[in-house]
Every structure is written in structure tokens, then in C-alpha cells.
Amino acid sequence: MYRALHISRRVAFTSRQGVVKVVRRRLATEAAIPKKKKNIGRRILWVTTGLTGTFYVGSTFAAFYNQAYYDFFSEKVPLGPSMLEYAEKHNWDTVTAAELLERTKNAAIATQRFVTDKINGTTPAKEPEPVRKVSVESQVKVIKSSAPKVVDHSKFETESMVAEAKKEFETRTEKVKEGTSEVAAVREKVATEVKDEVVDLVKKAEDALRTETPAIAETTPAEAPSKSNGKPVYEGALPVGFEPPPGYIRPSPPKKEEPQTPEPAPPAPVALPLVAPAVSSFAVSEPIIAQLAGTIDNLASFLDANPTAVPKVSDVLETAKTDLTALADRIEKAKEDERVVLESKLDEQTREYTQSLLELEMLAQDKLDSQEDDFRKFHDQERAKLIRDYRAKLEHELQTQTELINERLKEEVIAQGIELQRRWIRDIKVRVEQERGGRLGKLEELSSHLKRLERVALDNSTYLDENIRIHALWSAVRALTSSALSAPVRKPFREELRVVRHIASAREDPVVVASLESLESSDVPDVGVEPFADLASWFSSDVAPKVAHVALVPDQNAGVLSHLASHLFSGLRFRRTGLVPGDDVLSVIARAEHYLNEKNLDSAARELNQLNGAAKVLLQDWLDAARRRLEVEQALDVVQAQATLASLLVV
């Protein structure tokens, strides 16, 4: 039990505590954060919405006026294309600023009408405005439709025109505004006057009240100043579209304009005639008057409640009441006047604008027409000029082309001429060749005959030449033989040898040339050869006895004594002659002498060449001479044989 109690108490305690906490938390959160959040969020929402809307609408209009921006807006900005589509569907692109202005003006007029009608309590026909608006719109449409149709690029012109019109409109609207502001000023003036009066009245009433009931007066004056405090500060525009909040008795409305002025007429008369019904006619349009009336009534009722103050206040209240009614009347009158003036002015201005619009339209039309004519003329001129230029260009081109073609043709003709000439020359050549054919054949025959003759002649001449050469060779050989061999004295025969060799080389006989060359390379031709007679006598008289003296000298190690002995004993030996056999020196000498006697130098030289030792030494010179002579003889024999052979070949 104790436990249960404890628990329950605890629960209660905790629950109570939790509730308090929750409440506290709620209070805190609700009081501080959510309200702020709401306010900020709403503000942000509104601002963003407004900005976004402005941006999109403005961008759409800007896009219709600027192609670049149109592209940018349709490509880059999200929802841009759809926005543009919507705008195009609703013909925003054709809407001009002037038109917009016109529309807004119309709307303003319409609302004003509506308000004034409401104020007057009547509902005059709203038709004239729409009708007018429609007419203006239709005119504008006509302009719009006519302008693009005539010339597309003269749109700019019309735009400028429209801009002018717009400017004019603006100026006019400004004027209107001025007018309205004037009216407003007048109204203000009236209002201030009224207000002053009312303030005076209120002051009086207050004074009266203060003197009577200072305690109670605290409440009412406190309210009155609070109301009047907001009034003098405010200087606003028309209260046209204003709808009063009906249920409030004392709303501290920091509202606009005159209606606030009559408010400070609180001191209602005590004489019990209630002000509210008297002013009820204004209650709808001028709620503050009604409120004031209510206040006065309240005051009156208060006075009723405190009858002691009645005599003092009733007088004041009476005057206030009269004043209030007068004020109400006056306000009414002022409003009426103002409305009448405004209406008349508006009508006048509307007429004016319509007229000016029409004029401008006409002017624009005229300008467009004249521009179109100008353009057409200019276009024709340009076309004619272009045609002329182009024709000239074409002619020039044609000329150059013809020149080129002519040149090419000329070149071709020349080339063809050359080709033809070449062909003709070839043909002529061929024909000439053919013509010549027969003659040439004869000529060839003749030439062959001639050649044969030539060959014969040449053969003959070669034969003759050969003969002459052989003859020359023979003569030379004979000359050489006579000078070299058969001459009585030894003499050089180089010259004769040269002649022979020359002739032989001319005949290109290798054998002769070889033999003569070997002879010529030695010094024999310069020295010459010993005649045979000389050789023979030299041997028999000089060489042979001395050789015979050394016949007994041994071949080797022969000293003075052996020589002396040989010399001594060889004289004692018998002299042998003729072809004697034997290898000893004396026999050889005898044979050599025999051969020499027979003029056989060759055999004699051969015999003597067999000797050795001292005999050979003694025979050296003679053998050399004999050998030289034999060489020459042999060479000459060869040459003679060749010459003989040649002469035999020639014959």
C-alpha cells in the first residue's frame, strides 16, 4: 500500500511535472519561434513570389522586345518556354506599353467609377467604359494588324510612333494625376480646415468634460487623441477601393484622408437628439463620421447618466451636433463637387486621348504609306541597279570567257597545224622514199658495181703496194747487206737497219721484226761488223800463231814456267793443215784455217769455240767479232727469206 501510494504519488508528481514542462515548452516554442518563423517565412514567400512573378512577366515582355534575350530566356531559364508560349497564346507579344497603360488607366477609371457609384449609392452604367475600352482596343488592334501587314520592318517605326503616343499618354496621365492631386489637395485643404474645426470642438468638449468629470474624461479623451494622433500624420491618396471593417467600434485605423478628420467631433449634445441617425447617410461611405456620431451619442448618453453636467455640456453638444451635421453636409458637398469636376475632366481627357490617338494613328498610317512608297521606289531602284550591275558583270564574264576560248582555240589550231605539218612531212618523206625506191635500186646496183670495181682496184693497189713494199724491203735489205757484210771496211749500219726495220714493221711481219729487234737492241749496228777478209787475215796472221804458242799450256795452274815451256816447245811441233782430226789446239786451228779458207766463218767459229784455257783467252776477241758478224748474217738471212716468201706470196 505504501508502495502503491508512493508510486501513484510519484506518478502524479511526475505527470504534473511533465504537464508543466510541456506547457512551458509549448509556450516557449509557440511564443518565440513559430511566430517569428511564420512571419519571416511568409515574408520570404511573398517576396520570392513577387520577385519571381515580376521576373517572369518582365522577362516575357523583355523577351518580346529583345530577340537575344528571347533566346536566352527560352533556352536557359526554366519554365521560360512555357511562359513564352502562354504569353504568345494571350498575345502579350503584341501588347505595347501604351496599351498596358491604357488598360491600367481604364481599369483605374473603372474602379473609380465603381467606387464613386458605390459612394453615390447608384449604379450607373459601367458600359461606357468598357465600350470605350473596347473601341480603343479595337483601334489599337487595327493599328497592330495593319502595321505588320504593311511592312514588317516598319514595325519599328510604328513602335516609335506608339512610343511617342505613349509618351504623350504619359504626359497626359501625369496631367491627370496632377489634376487629381490638385483635387486631392483641395480636398485635403478642406479636410484640414474641417479637422481644425473639429479639433477645436473636441478641445472644447474636453475642457467641458474635464471640468465636469475628470475621472471619466480620462477614458474618452485617451481614446480620442489616440485616434486623432494617427490622422494628422497621414497624407494618402484616394480611398477609392477601401472597404471599411464594419464590426469595429473603435478600431485604431491609421487610415487615409479626410474621413478621419470628422472623427474628432465627439462631443455630442446632451439634448438627446442622437447624432448617429442624422449622420447615418454617411455611415457607409464615411464610417469614421459614423463612429464620431456614435461617440457623441455615447457622450450624450453619458451626460444622460450624469444629469448634473447636462446644463453645462448640452450647449456645447448642441453646437457640436450642428457643426457635425454641417461638416457632414460640407464633406458631402465637397465630394460631390470633386467627383463632378473629376468626372468632367476625365471625360474631357478621354475624348482628347481618343482624338489624339486617332490623329496619331492617321499620322502613323500616312507615314507608313509614304515609307512603303519610298521603300518600293528604293527597292525598284535597287533592283534596276542590281540588274544593271549584274548584266555588266555578266558581259564582262562573257567577254573574258570568249577571250579564253578564243585563246584556247588559237592554241589548238596552232597545235593542229603543227601536227598536220608533221604528218605531211612524214607523208612527203614516205612518198619521196617510194619515188626514190626505183632510182635507188639502180643506184645500189651501180654502187655495188662500183664497189666491186673498188675492191678490184683496192686489191690491185694492195697488190701493188705489197709489191712496192717488198721491193722496198728488198732494196733495204740489199743496202743493209752491202753496207754491213759485203763492205770492204768495218762501218756502222744503223741507218740501213732502221729503214729495213721500218719497212718490215709496216708489213707487220713478226719474224722479221723479232729478228731485227734483237739486232737493233745490241750495239752491233753502231759498231759495224768486221769484213770476212779482215777476219780471215786477222786469224791467220795474228791469232793463229799466238794460240799455237800456248797450245801446250795446261788448262789450270799454268804459271810462267808452263807458258814459257809451251812457247818453247810449240815451235818445235809440226805444222798441220787441212781438215785434220784431233782435239788438240793445233788440229783445231788447222781446221779453222781450212774453214776460213773456204769462207765458212760459221764452221771456223764453231771449231775455235771448242777450245779451252789459255787458247780460249787468246781467241776471245776474234771469236766475239766473228760471232757478231754471224749474228748479223743470220738476221739478214731471215729477213731475206721472209722477203722472198712475201714476194712469192704476192706473186
Partner: protein
């Protein structure tokens, strides 16, 4: 330059001249020596003449056979062959 058949005669001539000169020089030297040294004896004259004649002979022999130089002997291969066998 004489011809080849006159070479021997020339040699004889030169040998004779040389002999005469050398024998004369020897003779005169012998005479002088015999007079001065040998109290007019004859043998020094003969000796020196013999020296001269010998020298001339040696020269002459050398002229006839130039290959014969004293102390040398030219041997043919045919002669040389059997010697090593012996």
C-alpha cells in the same frame, strides 16, 4: 787495251821489266851492302840479286796465274771427292 791475243806478250813484257828492276835493285843493294858492311865480299851482291829476281818471279807467276796465292790451293771437286775416303 790490247786485244786478247796480245795479253800473253804483254805479260811477258811486264815480267821482264819487273825482273830487271827488282834484280837491279837487289844487285845494287847487294853492292852497297858488300861495300859498306861486308868488306867488298861478292855473296851479299848475289844474295840480294837473287832476292830481287825471286820476288820478280813470284810476281810474274802470280800475274800468269792469279789464282795461285802462297799458302792456298784451289782444289776441284773431282779431286776433293776421293780424299775424304782416303
Amino acid at each position: 787495251m790490247p786485244s786478247s791475243e796480245d795479253i800473253l806478250g804483254q805479260k811477258y813484257d811486264r815480267c821482264l821489266a819487273d825482273f830487271l828492276v827488282k834484280a837491279g835493285v837487289g844487285f845494287s843493294a847487294g853492292v852497297v851492302a858488300s861495300v859498306i858492311l861486308f868488306k867488298r865480299r861478292t855473296w851479299p851482291i848475289a844474295l840480294s840479286t837473287g832476292f830481287g829476281a825471286g820476288a820478280a818471279y813470284a810476281d810474274c807467276d802470280r800475274s800468269f796465274n792469279p789464282a795461285r796465292i802462297p799458302g792456298t790451293r784451289i782444289v776441284s771437286p773431282s779431286e776433293l771427292a776421293p780424299k775424304p775416303v782416303a
